[in-house]
Symmetry: none
Subunit: 224 residues, 2 copies
DNA sequence: GGCGCATCATTGCGGCAGCATTGCGGGAAC
DNA sequence: GTTCCCGCAATGCTGCCGCAATGATGCGCC
């Protein structure tokens, strides 16, 4: 883990450096804003500790540039100014945390751990098939980022098929996926949905097609 | 935006609740660990404020259960215990931030903003859509720099929609975003808000429109 | 290969569930 | 007291979806 420490006071910098190293972190030290800007180009740091009072300006000025890169490197602002207004300014400027000097190194480490723990998987469960993307959580399909709107029943059919992408889905299973016990179906309503869905997939050039298997069911397959 | 407040002291809870509501947030209140556990099952909160001293145990015990779900809901721990060891324990247990009582409400709000900004990491604090600009941090909309004032519920609807700009928002998700557990709705109140919001967006020539998807939900899309 | 049956595919149509909109009144905020 | 948000109910309307009729495609059997 490589940390960028932006701090001009040599004594403070040395103390933090050694503390962090003791916890097996690799520390790069930048004493000025200019140094910091250069350092972040390398883009190798997992977190940034940022002092506000620097010889060439307020450390907060660095934050927009970091955020512009949109890589989400967490930033902890360190500062002597502990007043409420300053702390709010620090947090609102885009920092992830704010620590007023003097602070205990243990607390800094704890906050660092908290901030690093964060990128915890927010992986939405989506299934890709051809040019089609199906978001199971939000119950929506899209093609090239454009929403692919479908009526409810057709969406249910597509969901059931895409969940078993490339494998056959029994006709009975599809019916169960689309209808509940209360609904009594005495027609070829399911076929209707399949048909309409087929047309929409083709029209949208989704890159998949619904393949029927006589006497068994259906399956969704990618187009060559 | 819907927040879960886990706090047993009625006075404290009421104060925080009203402060949060003043910032147009929807607050669910859980006075005990048991209540909190029940509440988190609904999985509708964007952040959790967690007191440690609860009648049925230490609030920190809740954190592993939340993390097990791996949905990354940020947690801010509130506590009277301000000693260093406690703060470190709080952060290391998986909380995203730690605030010692007494604290200024402004600071809590600032930390909340910081913590909510994050899951995006890459998503900015303001979202632009058409001529509409929505500032997530300050919870306000504007058009061409002119404030676009909306009543509370309509603002919540717009926020939920704009956060998923161009993608569908389930009807249930909208209801969850706008109402808390206590509110019991037995009508088409949500439709009413949508309708009124539509009119205001059109009147203000906002450059976006709310598109309904029958049986599924809504989505916000840019006008051509 | 020809024939027939069973299953599937497609399309038009009509009923109705769900949605959009509006006016009204209670009630909260100031 | 006044303002305005917001839930509620009534109304009209859109379009989904079930239905049935017709055509197309396998599959077996002779």
């Amino acid at each position: 883990m490589r940390i960028l420490l932006v701090e001009d006071e040599a004594e403070m910098a040395a103390a933090l450096s050694s503390a962090l190293k003791r916890y097996d972190m690799v520390v790069d030290h930048a004493p000025t804003l200019a140094d910091a800007e250069e350092a972040i180009c390398a883009d190798v740091h997992v977190a940034i500790l940022l002092d506000r009072q620097l010889p060439d300006g307020d450390g907060l000025k660095l934050i927009p540039k970091l955020r512009a890169r949109a890589d989400g490197v967490p930033i902890i602002v360190l500062t002597a100014r502990g007043e409420l207004a300053d702390r709010i300014a620090g947090l609102d400027s885009g920092a992830d945390d704010y620590l007023a000097k003097p602070f205990a190194v243990e607390e800094l480490l704890a906050r660092l751990r908290a901030v690093l723990r964060r990128p915890a998987g927010l992986s939405p469960d989506v299934i890709r098939a051809g040019r089609l993307v199906f978001d199971l959580g939000h119950r929506e399909a899209s093609i090239d980022g454009q929403p692919f709107e479908l009526p409810r029943r057709e969406l249910l059919v597509l969901e059931a098929l895409i969940r078993r992408m490339g494998r056959t889905v029994l006709r009975t299973a599809l019916e169960e996926a689309v209808y509940n016990f209360d609904d009594e179906i005495q027609s070829n309503a399911l076929d209707t949905h399949i048909s309409r869905l087929r047309r929409k997939l083709a029209d949208a050039n989704a890159g998949v097609e619904i393949h029927g298997i006589r006497g068994v069911g259906y399956l969704l397959k990618k187009l060559p």
